[in-house]
Symmetry: D2
Subunit: 363 residues, 4 copies
């Protein structure tokens, strides 16, 4: 396997299996002088942490991150930042059967064929536990972006069949779903409780938004901002779809309806989701992602074993019935990493550009 690095100038490289001794990451390319502490990273890790409500996996991991390099006397030095989280609550015996069978819809089958060997304990490298390091690295990006006036936030916009309208950022972090409409919470709780009784799992839709982004981020033609954002978001476990702005809604739109008209006071709409021609427009960048239902469920399913024989699979162990519930901080992290990388790339080549034209306010 290669491919464990994200970013071009600001890069994150990760390692770690679900039940190995530790997860880790190297964050390279962070400018020097940024104030940074382990507490800054811990905040987002705690938002993603398992076991914090009855609706997520009951594995208990403190997810305590250590900064091993690159920070001196409270500030980044410009050298690579080494991060580590030790695994503490591995119960590998739960997973012994998985060594011989492939869970339907899981990476078991593809890893087995690609590598010929796999650490099957807890899904090994294919476990969503891997995303902890994305969140830790994303917190560094958020801290730096915040200095540039850029803020990245996300929320759940749909849980299974329940669509959730955005009401307010207030309270999003105060409920286990990252739900932006407090009135929806009882419905979400009830749905999840029933789902557990059904021994089933369900999908979700997450929305991430970046505000305060300057005009000009993104490198056409292949490294467009939206293309790299799609790359980052689609690389999250269980994601099967990514939209920018109106996304698939644009298919049925007319040009006269879709186009975001401009006036000296600002853009009049944001169907584009803040990206035009692959470059940020200064409007909020809006992306949506679709997460599939967890494949590890206790309802029996048909599969085969490593010898090609039929097998009935029942997944024991501790799993999230909806991976989407903990996905909001991960999606934020991938957007933050993408934006920071592009802001640095932009500074390299376009630092001297000056135009008379004013930058439009966001509407």
């Amino acid at each position: 396997m290669s491919g464990n690095t994200f970013g071009k100038l600001f890069t994150v490289t990760t390692f770690g299996e679900s039940h190995g001794p530790a997860l880790g990451a190297i964050v390279d390319g962070c400018p020097p002088g940024l104030e940074l502490s382990e507490a800054d990273l811990q905040r987002d890790l705690d938002r993603r942490r398992p076991g914090s409500s009855r609706h997520t996996t009951q594995r208990r991991e403190p997810d305590q991150v250590k900064i091993l390099s690159g920070v001196f006397e409270g500030r980044t030095t410009g050298t690579p930042i080494g991060l580590m989280i030790e695994n503490t609550d591995q119960r590998s015996k739960d997973y012994s059967k998985i060594a011989e069978q492939f869970r339907p819809a899981h990476a078991d089958y593809t890893y087995h064929h690609k590598y010929g060997i796999r650490d099957y304990r807890g899904g090994g490298r294919s476990s969503a536990r891997e995303t902890a390091m994305r969140v830790a690295a994303g917190a560094i990006a958020k801290a730096w972006l915040s200095q540039q006036g850029i803020r990245v936030r996300g929320y759940m916009s749909q849980l299974g069949p329940i669509e959730i309208d955005f009401k307010s950022w207030d309270g999003v972090d105060d409920n286990p779903f990252f739900c932006p409409d407090p009135d929806k919470l009882p419905e979400l709780e009830a749905y999840m409780d029933q789902l557990r009784r059904d021994q089933d799992s369900v999908g979700a839709r997450i929305t991430v938004v970046a505000e305060g982004v300057l005009v000009g981020l993104g490198e056409p033609v292949f490294d467009r901002l939206d293309a790299e954002l799609a790359h980052g978001l689609m690389s999250i476990n269980a994601v099967k779809g990514v939209e920018i702005g109106d996304g698939f809604g644009v298919v049925a739109q007319r040009g006269s309806e879709h186009r975001d008209e401009m006036t000296p006071q600002g853009f009049l709409s944001n169907h584009a989701g803040g990206v035009l021609g692959g470059i940020s427009s200064g409007q909020p960048i809006v992306a949506h992602l679709a997460l599939k239902p967890t494949s590890s469920i206790t309802r029996p399913g048909r599969s085969i074993d490593v010898h090609g024989e039929p097998a009935e699979v029942v997944t024991k162990g501790r799993h999230d019935p909806c991976v989407g519930i903990r996905a909001t901080p991960i999606a934020e992290a991938m957007m933050a990493l993408t934006l920071m990388d592009h802001l640095l790339r932009h500074r390299a080549q376009n630092a001297d550009v000056q135009v008379e034209t004013p930058r439009l306010d966001q509407i």
Copy 2:
């Protein structure tokens, strides 16, 4: 601007503006010994070529590609393949007004701010004309993949409000829409004729499918096959959404419904779209993309000029009323490029892997 290279081992780097002297590409990393001629590339270029029906731009470009290196006596040598298409039908006077104004929903505004200078003739680098080189490069990938038993094809699955069910691959290439259901053609024709009378544009949805893909392509965690596919497809002009398999449909699915069960005879369904854990499963790889309506329409729209003053924009020139109509070969190209790059990466590291487990047939 950097970012004009796609791929890691099999790379495509492109240049060229809509109204400059030529478009070109360098395709690096093609294995030696592949039979290749300009005619192999021309076939797909002709499928994408403008002006071949009344429903696309009336610019007349023969799009005749030249191979300048890397092919000797009809076979690739393993050295970089230089490609060039000379522009012949530039009418730059049509675009003079664009130099001072920003078309709403177009890259004019973002390019202006990012670079401070832009070749405004025909959209310059942001023109969809750039995609011609993707198609030429993609044809090389298709030729090589074909030798490995892999076939990449696409079709239009929705035009504006008209959903198109897949009926058959037969005839897809025989109509200007790449429509897989001949019975829908009159409706599509009528819709487009009305759209032109309305001086408007519309979006579309394209589906691409790869068959014959072996198990094991894709490099977790960041360079997952679906993540890089999303990158490639989202980098196509006007694309605002990408789905793998059931895409956003997974949000409302239950795990027991979504999971593709396996039997010794094969997978029983393909909700996953051929990718599990970021690695190809051997099933057909299925992706969908949403293209927005063309921003260049003749209906007046509100905007600003380079001095920040209000302006009413009316786009003259020759434009596609639905960029989705010519997008099928481009989407195929990006999928082919992604697959070839991953197949080469897979060979590097997993060439020696052998497992007892049989590879499941596709259903």
Copy 3:
């Protein structure tokens, strides 16, 4: 073959065989707004051009470069710059025997084994003709660096057994050897005339110097400025050694002798060649390279043919008796490309750094 791209943010990708229709390059990542014309590139191409004295190959190539994109109204736009030189003086019949035999010390044998097929005409891709595009791309880098106050120049410091002391930059460009000591010219001319009579070739040593470089270029630990410079210089055909500053001279030096002491007035020496810890110190950057004698000589040599049978090889065709003679502009180009890439990378991450400490003058 992959590996035809140099640089990370400012990248040059080249294609082209010695006797194919054309050579070309794509230069990506050049900041917008730089004044640039074909004449700016032609100047260095003319310095490298074959056939300009009796001491180089008699192939007559005008090496006329065309800019195909990325420049609009005399200034770079930030989009990729496409470059092309058409080959005009191919005499492929001269090389027919090479198809079946391997010249000793030439790439014939290794290309044959690696690719199984090769364009043997004039050495194909392994010909030094490939370096023309490096020189063209390097001229763009030089133009941009010049705006930043950085100047890159080179000279021949040894021809075969004849060591050449640096006397003055004046006149370096006025003799075919890039010799910095006019008094040495008669000796060099005589040596080369004898060499031709001997039907032999000889090596050379080239020195390149960059002045006006700011403190801070280079990214430890692997992308050190000197490491990437070594990469670039060693990638030039026929180069077998690279030194920074005192180079191999440091082996016998003591620390008290080697260290470049500093005073408020500046460094007192430059044994380091302008790089400390992989980062530029603000002193002139000095590098030396060793070029081997041309392998294509008319004296018979023992070799084998493609069937493994013994063969006596006599190289006909037109060749440089000392590739080092035309290497100075190529070495300058590789240093300029390296510096520009690093200056852009430096701006990305260190643009905000401010220190009280004054930057030392060069001595």
Copy 4:
């Protein structure tokens, strides 16, 4: 700082400061199924370890490496391999004065200007301690190469003024200098003892050799095997020169003398050092590197402080009087990493190549 990753397909990314809590690395792209244990890595780490003779720094570090991921039941899984070495013998008080002053010939001055902040304790990131992770990663590459029949070894070929002829590989690892001629040991010991009394340091020359390399490794034109080897070797602390084969000796050679003639029995010489046209020839690959004398010596030197004021610098702390003494395992590591990366790249694109021509034996 970015640039902490080496390699393209087989990549090593490192972090860590001399006096921080730990050093670490992520090794990505190792094929699955390789037998690997911490003991395999420890062997080379012990060869590089400080304090193992009186001729190196007296810092006592066990350099005990931990494998944190990517190995399961004694074999690599194809997922990234996380490595960590905890620092144990930091005595940071020794270095307090360095915070305010710049050691001549050290990276202090350039780091200060580039980053504005630096972890001055023990040289921070610029310390040669960083190379421990290269050695650990290199040991993985060596283990894999060994399976392919490739062996990488090195020795000291010059210490200060004392040239050392290669006599035999026997005993190279049994003396602190990696000296291949046991008869030279008394002279080396005496020289080093006198050097310590002189409170000075000295340079060295190291030679590395790879045997058993197949024909075909290396990607022209920029990623030539020798160019990437030069990159890797020049990236080692204190290296100021790199040679392939005869290196700078080629300058005075004639073509008829330099060329390595071929017969069906093999090459008749190896002036090229095993690389022709940037591609391995099947002969032993031979590289030499020049290491400068340590800058940290106790003899007073003139410098400036962070306020630009004159300062007399006397370096306390524990330092190697000749960094070249411990450099052999590091040079081996960089050659092994380069070869493994290129062997994987070669397999990707040239796996199918078959030629009738036999591969020549090494002489």
